[in-house]
Symmetry: none
Subunit: 400 residues, 2 copies
């Protein structure tokens, strides 16, 4: 709702906003020390920033709800993550950096094994190697069926993405994956009358793939699911009048940024590369989404010490960012990934906003506990973007 308001009151301003997203930032106390990752790490630069900032905690979706990366980031960018749900196929495509066009239909595919009666014996084809999968994808790639171009992109192991590009394609289809072995793959049926053409093409594609793969046991068949189009998401330039740049090492986050209309920067594979890319592009954009993935991967691996180390590494690099003196610096995460939990979690995420006008609070430490007393209190993640814009003087008054 706020986003609809903002569309009417957003203006351009020279102020720059940097949003540094530490993926999976929030944590839980280590059972031995009673301290979270943030409380354990030596992070003097973050702490100094907390002194200058307004701090708080944010719920990515709602209390108790654990977000995936898609909804977590949409919320940070100010979009209602329930309203703008991204279908599985579209997210998979986004996740390997494929640019989906407006009419494209994407689906997630698995290579699988069927016996001589066509019954599925392994839904993952023995988890064939990525190399093998690459070869097989080449065999399936480039078909044209009923005027529709079909591209097949390998993901990892048995997984791939199919993109159907043509006129009047609708994604209202059921899956061919029965989600169990001992039965044949299902025919793909329509859930929307407008999807008749797409269903025919998808079924012909599956039948053709079966013929092509016949001699490639264990990967002698495919399963498709999650047919989806690129969601209709109004772009950040359109809503916020921003010229935003995304800097992210991993394709999933570049894809999500592209979905909301950001320009995606070429960058390298390290934190240093990302900070350099920020510096190099600093004059040409007014909003920067800078994504740091490694906090999340350490949390997912349950590796408390490594998550602490990543926080310390980012802290050490932080002066390069603050040297640019962005008028508004937002530091937060898309969700918590506590090492003690070993996965994404529902816990509120620390957020701090530093600007000349932030109305700083009395918080002096960058941590979950310290931020409880912060001036932001507990907010919804979708409220971060309006606050960032306001602090950058990019929102005029609502009403006279």
């Amino acid at each position: 709702m706020t986003q609809e308001l903002i569309k009417d009151i957003a203006v351009t301003s020279p102020d720059k906003i940097v949003m540094l997203v530490l993926d999976g930032l929030g944590g839980l106390p280590d059972l031995n020390t009673g301290k979270t990752e943030l409380e354990t790490a030596r992070i003097p630069n973050f702490d100094a920033l907390a002194v200058q900032s307004i701090c708080g905690l944010s719920d990515p979706i709602a209390p108790g709800i654990t977000p995936g990366s898609g909804p977590g980031h949409l919320a940070l960018f100010g979009y209602d993550p329930v309203k703008y749900e991204i279908g599985r196929g579209a997210l998979e495509a986004v996740g390997i950096d494929i640019e989906l066009r407006a009419g494209d239909v994407a689906a997630r595919g698995n290579f699988c094994t069927v016996d001589d009666k066509g019954i599925i014996t392994d839904r993952r084809a023995g988890r064939i190697t990525t190399e093998k999968s690459n070869e097989l994808c080449k065999l399936l790639d480039g078909m044209k069926i009923g005027g529709v171009d079909i591209k097949v992109y390998p993901v990892r192991e048995h997984r791939f993405v199919v993109v159907f590009r043509g006129e009047k394609l609708d994604a209202g289809l059921t899956e061919s994956d029965p989600s169990r072995t001992g039965v044949a793959p299902l025919d793909i049926l329509i859930t929307n009358p407008e999807a008749v053409k797409m269903a025919k093409i998808a079924n012909v594609f599956v039948a053709t793939a079966k013929d092509i793969l016949e001699k490639h046991h264990p990967a002698n068949m495919i399963l498709l699911r999650g047919f989806a189009k690129r969601p209709h998401i109004p772009s950040m330039p359109e809503i916020y009048k921003l010229n935003p740049l995304a800097i992210a090492v991993y394709p999933m986050y570049r894809g999500l940024a592209r979905l909301v209309g950001m320009t995606v920067a070429q960058t390298g594979t390290t934190l240093a590369d990302e900070f350099k890319t920020l510096k190099d592009n600093y004059d040409n954009y007014d909003f920067f989404f800078l994504h740091v993935k490694w906090t999340d991967t350490a949390g997912e691996d349950g590796d408390f010490a490594r998550k602490v180390k990543v926080l310390e590494d980012v802290d050490a690099a932080l002066p390069q960012l603050t040297a640019l003196k962005p008028e508004v610096l937002v530091i937060t995460g898309d969700h918590s990934t506590p090492a003690a939990y070993g996965g994404h979690s529902w816990h509120p995420v620390p957020v701090m906003i530093c600007s000349q006008f932030c109305r700083k609070d009395a918080v002096t430490k960058f941590s979950e506990q310290a931020f409880l007393a912060g001036g932001l209190g507990k907010i919804s993640a979708t409220q971060i973007m309006p606050l960032a814009l306001a602090n950058a003087r990019k929102l005029t008054k609502f009403g006279a």
Copy 2:
């Protein structure tokens, strides 16, 4: 909205949730001491739990809104209490432990006094005794009109409940109670075209009752209001994939639990009985609603000292509950009933959630004031259930 999300992401897990509801928990400071009931009570076990928990305050409905028992509990069970309003007749039926079936229509009834011209002179028939009311209800009970079975259940003094059971009954009716004396009872009219049959039957029932009661002055007539069906509430097993048990001494709370699909335990009349029932049934369910009524009755009576005593009694019994080591323990109330206010109130209610993953805060006392600094902050009561489920690992990710 969150509840709709949850339906898609709820899964079963071995973890058990105990929700201990101290009815009317929240209080106000005593004018002499400046301390609330919780701050006055010696409750070392509650305080020790607060140390291990994440704490906060919840608004049952919205700031400033005082809930009745129905909405207060629906919110605790995760239901939007405004969306799922329970009609007066249905709540009265629930309140005396009558199991309403899906097609039944229930109404609240009063015995009243009319003069020889049929004009109401006393809407409560001089508040006849419950014994007398029991006798009169027997006279009216068991009629069959137009194929509809009519049951009449005494409540207390002049109050009773009528339940109409038959085919195609609709509750879209006006009341016969004009809410004042000096006029005749009103004809019952339809507010919904489908209620024509029900209106006829209700009016015949009232006319028949008048004949039967003619010689029973002052209770020589009846007034009906609040025609309502059992509300369509999706059940907790359906939404949350839980197998929930309710333990409550008072019928209103057993009825409310039944409305949301809980199994209702046989229990006794004391706190000790309730805790024993919990222990006896602990292996067979994964969610337990344990309702303690006496905090509320003491508050309603304006008896500060008695409310303090009840809190101390529950505190003393608490080790029996914690000995069961539930993975998630929620302690809260359905609303505040401050003794200094002498009734239900709108004040936020203390809530604490204890689990391995709760992200405990720095709170060390179980009180309204101490919980202001808690990690939950201020939440809506409907958010307690999602948090309990998340802590019990009963919710998967939203979005990929």
